[in-house]
Symmetry: C2
Subunit: 322 residues, 2 copies
C-alpha cells in the first residue's frame, strides 16, 4: 500500500493542465503497489492513473518500461498506455519525482485465483511473450543469479533471524543454481512479476496486465515459473496441480514450450522461488518500522522452494509429455 509523495495543489494543477485531458475533478491516492506512488485522477475526459516513481525505480530504466507499454498496446495487449502531454512527452517530473500519466484499465485483480483464472493468465502470458518478440529495446534481468548473490551478500547472517537456518538453505540453493542454471532457452521480454495483483479480470476473463517495472529480457520459461509460484499454490502452500495444468495448457495453446524449456521448468521454478524469498527477506530486514508498507512473508517462498526441490520433472506440474 503506497503513497509516498505529497503533491501540492499548484504543482498538480499545472501538471494536469499540460495534458489535453480536460479539467481535474478528483485526485485520490491508491493503496496498492509497493514500489511507486499511484493516484487515481478523474478529469472531464475520464479516469487516469498518475504514477510517481520512488527511489527503488532507476530513472534510466523508465524509457524501457514506458516504451514496452506503448509497444504492447500497439500489438493489441491490453495494458496501461502512457499519455503524451501537449508537447508529446511521456516521462515528466512532478514533486521532484519522475512522473507518468497512464490510461486507466478497467478490471479487478482476483484475491483467490480459480482454475479458470489460471488458464486466463496462462493465455495472457503467452500472448505477452509473443507481442514482446519485436520490441527493440533490451534490459538485463538484474534479479537473476548475480542479483540474487548480491542480495544474499547484503542479507548475510541476518537471514537466520528471519527464519532459523535460512542462511544455509539459501547458500546451498545458490550453489546448486549457479552450477545448474539453464541456458540456451528461448529469450524475450518477460514481465518477471506477474502476480495476481498485476492481472485484471472482468467477467472472469483477463482484461489487462499492469505494472511492468520489473520487465526485462530473460528466458521466457522463467516468467512461466514465476507464475506457477504466484498462481498455483493454495493459501496453505499446497501445490494445486489442476491450476498448474490449466495455466500451462492455456499458455501452450498460444506458444508451445520447447522440450528444453519443459525440462528446465523445475529448475526455473526453484530460481523463481529463491528470487522472491531473497527480496522478501531483504525487504523485511530493510523496511523501517514506520514505513507505510506491508511487508510480505518470506517463509511462503521458502515453502515453495522446498516443493520445487522435490519435483522430479515438469510432469509434476500437471503436463503430460508432448
Amino acid at each position: 500500500m503506497a503513497v509516498y509523495t505529497d503533491v501540492s495543489d499548484e504543482e498538480l494543477e499545472t501538471f494536469i493542465d499540460s495534458y489535453d485531458i480536460g479539467a481535474l475533478t478528483s485526485f485520490k491516492g491508491i493503496a496498492e503497489g509497493v514500489e511507486n506512488s499511484n493516484y487515481l485522477v478523474h478529469t472531464a475526459r475520464g479516469p487516469f492513473i498518475l504514477t510517481l516513481y520512488e527511489k527503488r525505480v532507476r530513472p534510466e530504466d523508465l524509457p524501457y518500461f514506458l516504451g514496452l507499454m506503448e509497444h504492447l498496446a500497439a500489438a493489441g495487449i491490453s495494458c496501461p498506455l502512457p499519455v503524451r502531454d501537449r508537447e508529446g512527452r511521456i516521462l515528466r517530473e512532478l514533486a521532484g519525482r519522475p512522473a507518468v500519466l497512464i490510461s486507466f484499465l478497467e478490471g479487478l485483480w482476483v484475491r483467490r485465483p480459480s482454475i479458470e483464472h489460471c488458464a486466463g493468465l496462462g493465455r495472457a502470458l503467452a500472448r505477452f511473450h509473443l507481442a514482446g518478440v519485436d520490441f527493440s529495446m533490451t534490459r538485463e534481468n538484474d534479479l537473476s543469479l548475480p542479483g540474487w548473490r548480491a542480495l544474499f551478500d547484503a542479507i548475510g547472517a541476518s537471514a537466520d533471524g528471519v527464519i532459523p537456518g535460512l542462511k544455509d538453505t539459501i547458500a546451498r540453493e545458490l550453489d546448486y543454481l549457479g552450477a545448474n542454471w539453464a541456458s540456451g532457452l528461448p529469450v524475450g521480454v518477460i514481465h518477471a512479476d506477474l502476480f495476481p495483483d498485476n492481472v485484471f479480470f472482468l467477467d472472469d476473463k483477463v482484461s489487462g496486465l499492469i505494472d511492468f517495472y520489473f520487465a526485462c529480457n530473460d528466458m521466457l520459461a522463467y516468467d512461466v515459473a514465476v507464475c506457477l509460484n504466484a498462481w498455483c499454490f493454495e493459501p496453505d502452500t499446497s501445490f494445486n496441480i489442476t491450476k498448474a495444468r490449466a495455466l500451462l495448457q492455456a499458455y501452450e495453446r498460444e506458444r508451445t514450450l520447447t522440450e528444453p524449456e519443459l525440462d528446465a521448468l523445475p529448475l526455473l521454478a526453484r530460481g523463481a522461488a529463491l528470487r522472491f524469498l531473497l527480496t522478501r527477506t531483504y525487504d523485511l530486514l530493510n523496511t523501517d518500522a514506520g514505513a507505510l508498507v506491508k511487508t510480505k512473508d518470506p517463509s511462503e517462498y521458502l515453502r515453495k522452494l522446498r516443493f520445487h526441490q522435490r519435483v522430479r520433472s515438469f510432469r509434476d506440474y500437471g503436463l503430460g509429455a508432448h
Copy 2:
C-alpha cells in the same frame, strides 16, 4: 492512509450484486482517511465509495451519521449520499465489518488553503449548520470536556515522553476550561472535524463536505473554532488573520454569530486545540509501529493552543465589532 480490511472476491461480487448499480468494473483501496477502510468502486453506473467501518467507529452511532448524510443531501448540502440496496437497506455488512456504499463526490481537497478557500469553507460551514437545524436525531459530543479528561487520564505521564512538560500544560488547561467552559450558546449539529481533507473544491469553490463520523450535537461556534485551527494557521503555525477574517465574514453572511458566541470564540478555540492535541498525543502513544497509519504531530496543536491562550478577544481573529 488506510485500508485495513481485505475483501474476498466472492463476498465483493455478492455485495455489489445486491445493489441496482450495474456490474463491477474496478475496485481500488484509497489511501486516505484514518478511521475506516475506503474503496473506490467503479460500476457500469459510475463511481462509488465503499466504506468499511473499523473498530474506532461504534456501530450504534452509524444510524446518526448515515441519517445525517441523507438529511443534509435532502437539504441541498453537497455531501455523499448513502446508496440503498435492492431491499432498501443502507447499513450492510461486508468482510465482518459494518459497510456502506455512498455516492462519489467530485472535487479535490486543498493541501494549502488560500484566503478564497477559507471564505468558501466559512460559507459551507454556516450552510451546514443551518441545514442541520431540523435534523431530528441527536448524538452527544464524546470528545468534549469529559472526553478530554478521559483521554488525559489514559495518556497520563506518557505525555511528557511526547513533549517535555506536556502533562502539566494539559492539566492546567483542563482546569481552566473546566472552570470557564461556555454554556448557553446556540447548539445544533456540528461536523467537529472539518479539516481541509474533508472539504472538496472544484474551480476554487466548495463542491462538497465529507466524513461525518465525528458529527454530533454541540455548540455551533465550537465547530467554527475547530475550523479556525484547521484552516487559518500557516505551516509554521503562524496565525493568518486574513484567512480567519475571510472564514468568519463568509460564515456570518449565512448565519450571524451572536455576541456571546463571539465572546466565547477564544475559549472555544483553546478547547478545540486541546481536543486535537489530546487525540494526536493519544494516537501517537497507541499506534503500533507496524500499523499502516501516518500519525499526526501533536506539537502543532500545542503551538495553536498557546496562540489562543494569548488571545484577548474575537477581534484578534480579524472580526470588527458587530
